[in-house]
């Protein structure tokens, strides 16, 4: 058994008085594919947003590799992480958003090249080469010089994936990446995710409402309910054989 690449230890998160997460314990191994399902408002998205450093946990530890993400040591004490610390660890994590968040003032190719060049200090030529490879992989090799506004939602989301992939993260987060898409465009995006999943090495956490897809791709499924992990196991354990009543009624709504 290899060491987990991501660990959550009793992680809590509140927004004001609202407790969204009430003690999350979680381990993700390298290359593991994890689907997070659950009713809306259950805190699914908050879990990955904390891992991407977009939200700070109220309590608990998030460990990436062997480093505490939100805390760092100073003179023997653990203090709140500063920006430098976050930047060091964040490089291992990538994210794809529900609303794509492409940079509208850049072409598709520039969207992919900008971070490798400015963050990873790759040469322009190599960033360009890798970006084109990635865009071809997601089926957009013919759109390099288009602007995001010229693409369909599905195409935008595939660009967003290529943009995250060129940074070669060890963990990739998918935040309901098909929820903002027209139904007929969902398939092409799921197809690309399946493709990425097959390549192996990268761990993936998918927050999703696509149950069949989760069953197909994920090694492990977490059912999140009212701020805790109510059920977890292999996809078939959780989705096909669970006795948890709330999970059953949640699934029923997707299976009718």
């Amino acid at each position: 058994m290899s060491e987990p690449i991501v660990k959550f230890q009793d992680v809590h998160k509140s927004f004001g008085d609202v407790k969204v997460l009430k003690g999350i314990d979680l381990e993700i191994k390298p290359a593991e594919k994890v689907a997070v399902i659950g009713p809306s408002g259950s805190g699914k998205t908050t879990i990955i947003r904390m891992l991407m450093t977009l939200e700070e946990p109220t309590a608990g530890d998030i460990i990436v590799g062997d480093q505490n993400l939100w805390k760092m040591e100073k003179n023997g004490n653990m203090i709140e992480a500063n920006d430098k610390h976050l930047r060091e660890i964040r490089g291992d994590i990538g994210m794809v958003f529900q609303h794509f968040n492409l940079f509208p003032h850049m072409t598709i190719l520039e969207n992919c090249m900008t971070a490798p060049i400015h963050v990873k200090k790759e040469s322009k030529e190599s960033a360009r080469k890798h970006s084109i490879e990635m865009l071809e992989k997601v089926g957009l090799g013919d759109k390099l010089d288009n602007y995001p506004s010229q693409l369909s939602g599905g195409q935008k989301q595939r660009v967003a994936m290529a943009r995250a992939l060129v940074m070669r993260p060890k963990v990739m987060l998918f935040d309901e990446v098909t929820s903002a898409l027209d139904p007929e465009l969902v398939g092409e995006v799921l197809e690309v995710i399946r493709d990425i999943a097959k390549d192996g090495e990268m761990a993936m956490i998918l927050v999703t409402h696509e149950m069949d897809f989760a069953l197909d791709v994920a090694d492990k499924v977490l059912f999140l309910d009212e701020g805790v992990i109510a059920e977890q196991g292999t996809a078939s354990d959780v989705i096909e054989h669970s006795k948890n009543e709330r999970l059953q009624s949640f699934l029923k709504r997707f299976r009718s």
């Binding site: 977009l54 609303h99 968040n101 003032h105």
Partner: protein, 238 residues
């Protein structure tokens, strides 16, 4: 020569009034540059994440905007030299640059802020996810999107400012209004020289207004190159 329009007076006054145009234009540009730069300072100060400090900055901006620029001009020119310790006498041109520049910088600061607030929150999140540094986020992602939409508004302020610059004649800056006034006083003929002033302002500000209108249209359509293919992703901002 009182009461009736005279083309002789007009042609005599015209070159004299025109002499002031460089001061008027120069003062406009100087005030505007000052306001553009100082506007950044306000925007920056307002973003300091410390509430009481923010309140003070907001209050000071509100104070500056709520007092007439003429009063501010008089204060800087006449009252400032009498302020103990920090007070000093400034020449009319410098006083005008400071007075009008600071006054308009509070408006320009608001324009910058609206531009920055207009950038979707997702753009910040995506640039965090790609691990950009704070500086890179501003320079590569946020400002390139925040500034272009503000250009028409900034242009409007240039025209508004141009029209406020004659206020400086009250403290003795020798622009076209001042030239016209002194011509009028010498020859007891105000109709022609002041008409010239109005015409000069019209000639300069009207084409500028048209130019800005064009800029605005260009800015509004800057990323919609040709047909937008099926961009129907439910209010998503890409």
């Amino acid at each position: 020569m009182n009461g009736n329009w005279s083309w002789d007076t007009f042609s005599e006054a015209f070159p004299i009034v025109l002499e002031g145009i460089w001061i008027t234009i120069g003062l406009t540009i100087a005030c505007y540059l000052f306001a553009l730069i100082f506007g950044f300072v306000w925007t920056f100060l307002r973003r300091v994440p410390f509430k009481p400090f923010n309140w003070v900055v907001t209050w000071v901006m509100e104070f500056i905007r709520s007092t007439p620029p003429l009063v501010q001009l008089f204060f800087i020119f006449y009252a400032w030299p009498m302020v103990p310790v920090v007070g000093m006498a400034l020449d009319p041109f410098t006083s005008a640059v400071l007075g009008l520049g600071i006054h308009f910088s509070t408006y320009i600061g608001e324009v910058y802020r609206s531009g920055i607030d207009g950038v979707d929150k997702g753009q910040w999140e995506a640039s965090t996810a790609l691990n950009f540094s704070t500086r890179q986020k501003w320079m590569k992602i946020i400002l390139p999107q925040a500034i272009p939409p503000t250009i028409p508004m900034l242009g409007n302020y240039l025209i508004i400012m141009f029209k406020e610059v004659p206020l400086a004649s009250t403290i003795g800056v020798v622009g076209i209004l001042h030239m016209a006034n002194s011509y009028g006083a010498q020859h007891w003929a105000y109709l022609e020289p002041l008409t010239i002033v109005a015409i000069l302002f019209l000639i300069l500000s009207y084409p500028s207004a048209i130019l800005i209108k064009k800029l605005e249209i260009k800015m509004n359509t800057r990323f919609d190159k040709k047909a937008v293919l099926n961009g129907s992703s439910k209010g998503a901002v890409s």
